[in-house]
């Protein structure tokens, strides 16, 4: 199994979720993060002084998938999240040793 982490632009969450669902992915976990990268932040103004914001709002998706669909998930993520502008984000793939469904105690592929 693989543990896939994707950092994407916040407003791409809905299309990405839909694309993944179409692929048969049944679960994922999402959180709000701040990204630092090549894409530059904005300027905030406060009573005559400008402050630069280094961090931009990003959305992080985590999903555990079976090895078989790893490639398709990564590809789907990459396609659905792409705007072709700087700051589109990354997909990271880690090995997942075990997964358990809390409700039933099922493990492995069954748990996803």
């Amino acid at each position: 199994m693989k543990y896939i982490i994707a950092i994407i632009k916040p407003f791409m969450l809905d299309p990405v979720r839909e694309a993944l669902t179409d692929l048969g992915v049944q679960g994922m976990t999402v959180s709000e993060v701040k990204g630092f990268g090549r894409q530059k932040g904005h300027t905030e103004i406060y009573r005559g002084a400008e402050y630069s914001i280094d961090f931009l709002p990003k959305t992080k998706i985590e999903l555990a998938v079976a090895d078989e669909i790893e490639d398709r998930v990564v590809e789907t993520l990459q396609k659905a999240a792409r705007t072709e502008k700087i700051g589109d984000g990354k997909v990271f793939v880690l090995d997942l040793k075990e997964a358990v469904r809390i409700r039933t105690g099922e493990t492995g592929g069954e748990a996803l």
């Binding site: 905030e44 103004i45 406060y46 009573r47 005559g48 002084a49 400008e50 402050y51």
Partner: protein, 438 residues
């Protein structure tokens, strides 16, 4: 003389005039007649000015700090309101507005301590004296609350309490007496309709001194966090604006044309200053901000305050433009040139605004400049008197505030430890967190 004082004398004057016409009819009661309409308006004004501090100013200031300190700022304002109210009853009012006898030039007496002798029937001009007491109390509340802007995010709560007690009694009360309570500045002819000197110059000057004594926040000036909630700032500013109708309009102490003109010029100055500030930001940064436009409005309000009973609508436009230009400049000056962390710009907005307005009053209060012409002096003469007022109040406030700071440093210290500053005053000084939103 302020129009406030003028109003209070008016019945007496009228009384005199009327005695000549119909002596028998007015002999007993004319000078001391309660006016229900005026009472209704000043009761309302009192509520409006209380709203300025609770929650107006508290929100305005609370939104400007980091999220970890917002509750501490609300706490400062709330506690100050409570403490000042009690002190005002105990002795503040009496010392400010009571008769000081031989030292009346400098300070009032204690005959009205605990509102002694002031019953339901007691009058002050055409108002129940309790109403005048309460209206003035709301001014005494907001002035030390304005100083909060200087010391946020790093002061000990005990120091806030001690500072407020000492500063109210040793700075606010004497200055109020000098200008409005029968003291030397009023006698000299200083015109301060609603508190340019008494409220704004005192709080601005004190803010600067306290901020210097306390030292800047970590990271000042370049790494200070921007306001954590500009929406709260706007809510606070809106309530300050609405409440200012009571502050300036109520200072007429009557529901009449003077009150009407006062709220008109007050409003126009605020609006003009806000638009001007917005334009400056738009031109300089390409982005007009909400904090900016509201700060402009407050600058316009503070600046017109001393003049609000003396100038006309066109004068108000001038006040508004000047307020925004000067206060905008002052913000940068204090922060980046003088490098004093008067954190929420109390000196730059209130102090500078109040002083500017006090001086401009001499000019735009004159009929030649569309004013109501209530001064008997020439423009230059009045300007001189106003300048004396500014210098005296500024100097006195600076010296006494400095002494108070030194005393507090000796007694309990002014500033929290680094760790507390980093983690925030809310949790460390008050055991509370502002946003448990999930």
């Amino acid at each position: 003389m302020s129009l406030g004082a003028f109003k209070r004398l008016l019945p007496a004057t009228l009384f005199g005039v009327l005695c000549l016409i119909a002596p028998e009819a007015f002999a007993q009661t004319a000078a001391a007649k309660l006016d229900g309409a005026n009472t209704a308006w000043i009761l309302t004004s009192t509520a409006l000015v209380l709203l300025m501090t609770l929650p107006g100013l508290a929100l305005f200031y609370g939104g400007l700090v980091r999220a970890q300190n917002v509750l501490s700022v609300l706490m400062h304002c709330f506690a100050i309101a409570c403490i000042v109210s009690v002190l005002w009853l105990v002795a503040g009012y009496s010392l400010a507005f009571g008769d000081g006898g031989s030292v009346n030039k400098w300070i009032g007496g204690l005959s009205k301590a605990f509102l002694g002798g002031v019953g339901t029937g007691a009058l002050s001009g055409t108002l129940p004296e309790t109403v005048f007491f309460m209206f003035q109390m709301t001014f005494a509340i907001i002035t030390p609350a304005l100083v909060v802007g200087a010391y946020v995010e790093r002061i000990k709560f005990g120091a806030v309490v001690l500072f407020t007690v000492l500063w109210l009694m040793l700075v606010y009360v004497p200055v109020a007496h000098w200008v409005w309570g029968g003291g030397w500045l009023g006698a000299m002819g200083v015109q301060d309709f609603a508190g340019g000197l008494v409220v704004h110059v005192t709080c601005g000057t004190a803010a600067f001194i306290v901020a210097r004594e306390l030292g800047p926040r970590r990271g000042f000036p370049r790494e200070v966090q921007p306001p954590h909630a500009p929406g709260l700032v706007m809510m606070g500013a809106a309530m300050l604006w609405v409440g200012w109708y009571g502050f300036n309009g109520g200072s007429a102490l009557a529901a009449d044309g003077a009150a009407g003109m006062a709220i008109t010029v007050t409003h126009i100055s605020a609006a003009t200053a806000a638009v001007t500030w917005m334009t400056i930001e738009w031109t300089r940064h390409g982005k007009p901000t909400l904090v900016g436009i509201t700060t402009g409005a407050i600058a316009g309000l503070a600046t017109i305050t001393p003049a609000s009973g003396f100038v006309g609508p066109v004068g108000a436009i001038v006040f508004g433009i000047v307020a925004a230009l000067i206060c905008y400049g002052a913000v940068g000056l204090v922060k980046f040139k003088l490098k004093v962390d008067d954190s929420l710009d109390v000196l730059a907005v209130h102090g500078v605004g109040g002083a500017t307005g006090t001086l401009l009053t001499a000019v735009f209060g004159a009929t030649a400049f569309g004013g109501l012409g209530l001064s008997k002096l020439s423009i230059a003469g009045q300007l001189g008197v106003q300048a004396i007022g500014v210098v005296a109040v500024l100097g006195f406030t600076a010296v006494v505030t400095l002494i108070i700071c030194k005393v507090i440093k000796a007694v309990c210290g002014l500033r929290v430890e680094d760790e507390v500053e980093i983690e925030g005053l809310d949790i460390r000084s008050h055991g509370e967190r502002a946003y448990l939103i999930r």
